[in-house]
């Protein structure tokens, strides 16, 4: 027979979001909290991010990923939260019934609230349709990070990395340190996707060439990657004819974006926001189903784990409470210059933070929130990049009495290169 248990809160996913949400729920009075993780340990992606740079916002010191995860693991160990690792959730239904599988059998957990914290996955070669052969040596950058840092396995001897997001840059440095030459980092945009700090410390420190406005348009090698075709692109990212060359390498690493992992959410019929790739949520992480919540990268890919922790603790707290949520007061919409906004729904004015991801890199501009004709928030920004979210405390916004749609816009001068 399946093991049937009752819970106040079930958290799906034991990465940074799930760990914080479980602790938040417990601290806000939820008695029985389950934290379900499919990997064989808690921590999620943090375990493979061995570099420093985490925790400045949350803990006021610079930590590595494993250290940051370690703090939460310790807290969970001394809490009474039921942690189950190597446990995969196969089904969730709208009533808060969760079906999971692990080595001890099948678990049916009926929970008052469910927190979705499944994180995200990497975009693959096929999603960006790079033609060519299908040899060994084409990997996503995050997978390589795991292979190198946790398993100690090297993906090749000479790499080309597509995408200048932070994972790509950080993996480039790791490979160089391990004796794998990185021949180039190739970026289809005309400006850096990741942080300038990572550009300096990962590429400049190791003399790794960076190619803007270029992309990979072919792969050669029947068995193992032998070379990749690198093409210059025009303003609409189309390869320019005749402007391409083959670059030799034995592996191609893709750092071409992350997708919130919402298969479970979608099966519940919860609508997904096309910009964020996650469910529409409010300032506490409530989805369209009041007792189902989402936090962390499953709701939108965040730039800093610190933000994920802060938000997820709040989401966990909300999941612990029994009172139904207030009605939605405002719907936030992306206007010009805005890539995404999270949360997209505001119930209570002045609670929590709003995160806005710029669509492109801009300098000397403004960010504006508008309710109809009325500007309810405006702030100059010296620089913004898609890699860094703009964090706006909700209490800093002059929320009007009148509810409805709020449009967010960013303008400024385009930034090129670094």
């Amino acid at each position: 027979m399946p093991k049937k248990v009752l819970a106040d809160v079930v958290v799906i996913g034991g990465g940074p979001a799930g760990m914080a949400a479980a602790l938040g729920a417990r601290e806000s009075g939820a008695k029985i909290v389950f934290l379900l993780e499919r990997g064989d340990e808690l921590g999620g992606i943090l375990n493979q991010c061995i570099h420093a740079g985490f925790g400045v916002q949350r803990f006021g010191e610079e930590l590595t990923g494993p250290e940051y995860a370690g703090i939460y693991k310790d807290r969970l160990a001394s809490s009474s939260i039921e942690v189950m690792t190597s446990t995969l959730v196969c089904e969730v239904n709208r009533d808060g019934y969760v079906k999971a599988v692990n080595r001890s059998g099948i678990w049916e957990i009926s929970a008052r609230s469910v927190v979705m914290a499944m994180g995200c996955r990497e975009r693959t070669r096929d999603m960006i349709r790079i033609p060519g052969t299908r040899p060994s040596g084409v990997f996503t950058a995050g997978l390589v990070q795991y292979m190198v840092n946790v398993d100690g396995l090297l993906p090749g001897k000479e790499a080309v990395i597509l995408g200048s997001g932070d994972i790509g840059l950080i993996v480039a440095r790791r490979l160089e340190l391990e004796g794998v030459r990185v021949n180039a980092v190739v970026e289809i945009r005309d400006s850096l996707s990741g942080l300038v700090r990572n550009y300096v410390q990962c590429l400049l420190d190791f003399n790794i060439p960076m190619l803007f406005s270029h992309t990979v348009t072919g792969i050669r090698g029947e068995d193992r990657v032998e070379a990749v075709k690198i093409s210059k692109v025009d303003n609409s990212w189309r390869p320019i004819k005749g402007a391409s060359q083959w670059m030799e390498c034995d592996c191609l690493l893709l750092s071409v974006g992350l997708i919130p992992e919402n298969e479970l959410t979608q099966r519940l019929g919860i609508p997904i926001c096309p910009e964020s790739g996650g469910p529409y949520i409010d300032e506490k992480g409530t989805t369209e189903i009041p007792h189902i919540f989402a936090c962390g990268n499953v709701s939108s890919v965040f730039d800093l784990v610190d933000y994920v922790s802060i938000i997820s603790e709040r989401t966990g707290s909300a999941a612990a409470l029994k009172n139904p949520p207030a009605p939605v007061s405002f719907i936030l919409e992306c206007g010009g210059g805005v890539g995404l906004v999270v949360p997209q729904r505001i119930r209570e004015r002045g609670e929590g933070d709003i995160f806005v991801r710029p669509a492109t890199a801009l300098r000397d501009g403004n960010i504006r929130f508008q309710r109809g004709e009325r500007i309810i928030y405006e702030k100059p920004i010296s620089i913004c990049r898609p890699s860094e979210m703009i964090r706006i405390p909700s209490r800093g916004i002059e929320w009007p009495h009148e509810t409805g749609k709020v449009k967010i816009e960013i303008d400024g001068e385009p930034v090129q290169g670094i």
Binding site: G39, S104, G105, R129, T133, S136, Y146, G218, I219, R224
Partner: protein, 488 residues
């Protein structure tokens, strides 16, 4: 003493494995030699996976004859192999009035009582995503889709279960004759058998020349494909063919037994063996798929691939005894519909060998293959029982296809077992889902090492030239200019 076989089969594709399975019903010592590390590594791994019904046979050809013969084998094979199939039927779609004539031809050729030509309304009732502008469609219930991977692996497993030896990494370099036996020469070994059959796909002409037999060159014809995410399941429920063209069956859209949607192939003759996908080819497939189903969600593509058909100039199968070695039989130009015709080919070859004096004495202890359970497809009660029996059923290492450690174990250990990453994919669908291995590759190397005893340095994607890893960190302390500073 050197082992001698009654029969050696060269090539572990669908043809070679169907031959192995067919002959394993009889009382023979059989070996199958394959140059790769697994079965299903060449032509057989990259095709549409359709058992075409009799409506699509090609009259007045050997391939047409063997196609028809094969169809009667299908129920038996399905039972003996415990093969999952999707008996979905097919619609051949006429998008212009001129195409309707083609539908009539197909219907007449099929002589299938349940088949019918229907109007656009009726066709769209069955397949709502069909192009609104279709003029008519020919419905044929006899078309079946299979996983080519599953088909070849189940043939091989059933053959192995009945005593066929599989030997991998065997690059055949030539033939020789002893007094009674044909000798098959490979770099490390000489193999001897009374009869030898070659089924070498793209290399079939080359192999035939090793015995100094004259045959035209194989011309590879490339076809490219899209595989869509399983959450598109139901977008089409039948094979949708365009009205037939000259050279191929055209770009079709079809469901797979696992619930993906497949679109392709185009048809591009090449002058070299190149299985790259191309912008041009994928665009062509995109256009073809859009013609049939304008709203096909190609943005849900999880994988592109291309396959090569080993065609001869007359576009037919050539099955003939060598002029040099009388008991050596060559199978050349086994292209589409090679998958459909595989059983017919096996039976035909059996007759040819029988006529040459091979006695077919049926075994009385032939064993059927029993498919290993698939966790993803099992109901909850079965899952529960499986985990109770072996907790490895409770550890899911592939989130997309919900593959468990128990299945990995099985795939590595059931002869002829998987020894490569793609070998696992063919058997249990690891790395075949939407994340294409980003998650399961975190555990597969460890499992291959712990269960399969494969050292990390010997892990390959497919063949010996495709290592997964280039080395390990901290394994070599290099004697570079930095070494002298190693005083820390």
């Amino acid at each position: 003493m050197k082992k001698r076989y009654d029969l050696i089969i060269i090539g572990g594709g669908v043809t070679g494995c169907a031959l192995a399975w067919y002959f394993s019903h009889y009382d023979f010592e059989i070996a199958l030699l394959e140059k790769e590390m697994d079965v299903c590594c060449g032509v057989s791994k990259a095709n549409t996976g359709i058992f075409h019904s009799r409506s699509y046979w090609t009259p007045d050809t050997l391939k047409g004859e063997l196609h028809l013969r094969s169809l009667s084998w299908f129920p038996r094979a399905k039972k003996e192999l415990d093969l999952p199939v999707r008996e979905c039927g097919a619609l051949t779609v006429a998008l212009s009035a001129a195409d309707i004539g083609h539908l009539r031809e197909v219907k007449a050729r099929g002589r299938c009582p349940e088949a019918e030509i229907m109007g656009p309304i009726e066709a769209r009732k069955r397949e709502p995503n069909l192009n609104k502008n279709l003029k008519a469609a020919y419905y044929d219930p006899g078309t079946v889709v299979v996983s080519p991977f599953q088909l070849v692996c189940s043939l091989a497993e059933c053959a192995a279960l009945n005593g066929v030896e599989f030997h991998f990494d065997q690059h055949v370099r030539g033939f020789d004759q002893t007094s009674k036996y044909i000798r098959v020469l490979t770099p490390e070994n000489n193999w001897e058998a009374a009869f030898v059959i070659t089924a070498a796909g793209l290399f079939s002409s080359e192999i035939a020349r090793y015995s100094r037999d004259k045959i035209s060159d194989i011309r590879p014809c490339r076809g490219e494909y899209f595989v869509l995410d399983r959450d598109c399941d139901g977008f089409v429920n039948r094979v949708l063919y365009p009205a037939p063209r000259e050279r191929s069956k055209g770009i079709l859209v079809c469901p797979t037994p696992e619930g993906n949607v497949l679109a392709g192939p185009n048809f591009e003759p090449l002058d070299r063996f190149d299985s790259s996908t191309t912008y041009f080819g994928l665009e062509e497939v995109e256009k073809g798929a859009h013609r049939l189903t304008p709203h096909i969600p190609l943005h849900k593509n999880i994988r592109n691939f291309s396959g090569l058909r080993p065609t001869l100039p007359d576009r037919d199968f050539h099955i003939f005894f060598s002029n040099t070695y009388p008991n050596l039989l060559h199978l050349v130009g086994i292209e589409s519909p090679g998958l459909t015709a595989a059983f017919g080919i096996a039976e035909y070859v059996g007759e040819k060998l029988h006529n040459k004096g091979l006695t077919l004495r049926e075994k009385n202890d032939f064993r059927f293959r029993k498919a290993f359970p698939v966790f993803r497809e099992a109901d909850w009660k079965t899952r529960e029982a499986l985990i109770r029996e072996d907790p490895d059923w409770g550890e899911i290492i592939c989130r997309c296809e919900e593959v468990t450690v128990a299945e990995v174990k099985h795939a590595l250990r059931t002869p002829p077992g998987a020894s490569t990453l793609d070998g696992l994919k063919r058997r249990i669908r690891t790395t075949a889902g939407r994340c294409q291995g980003s998650f399961c590759l975190m555990s597969i190397p460890r499992l291959m090492s712990e269960i399969g005893n494969v050292p990390y340095g010997n892990m390959y994607k497919e063949g010996r030239k495709s290592p997964l890893f280039a080395g390990e960190t901290r394994e070599e302390c290099s004697r570079s200019e930095y070494a002298e500073k190693g005083s820390c």
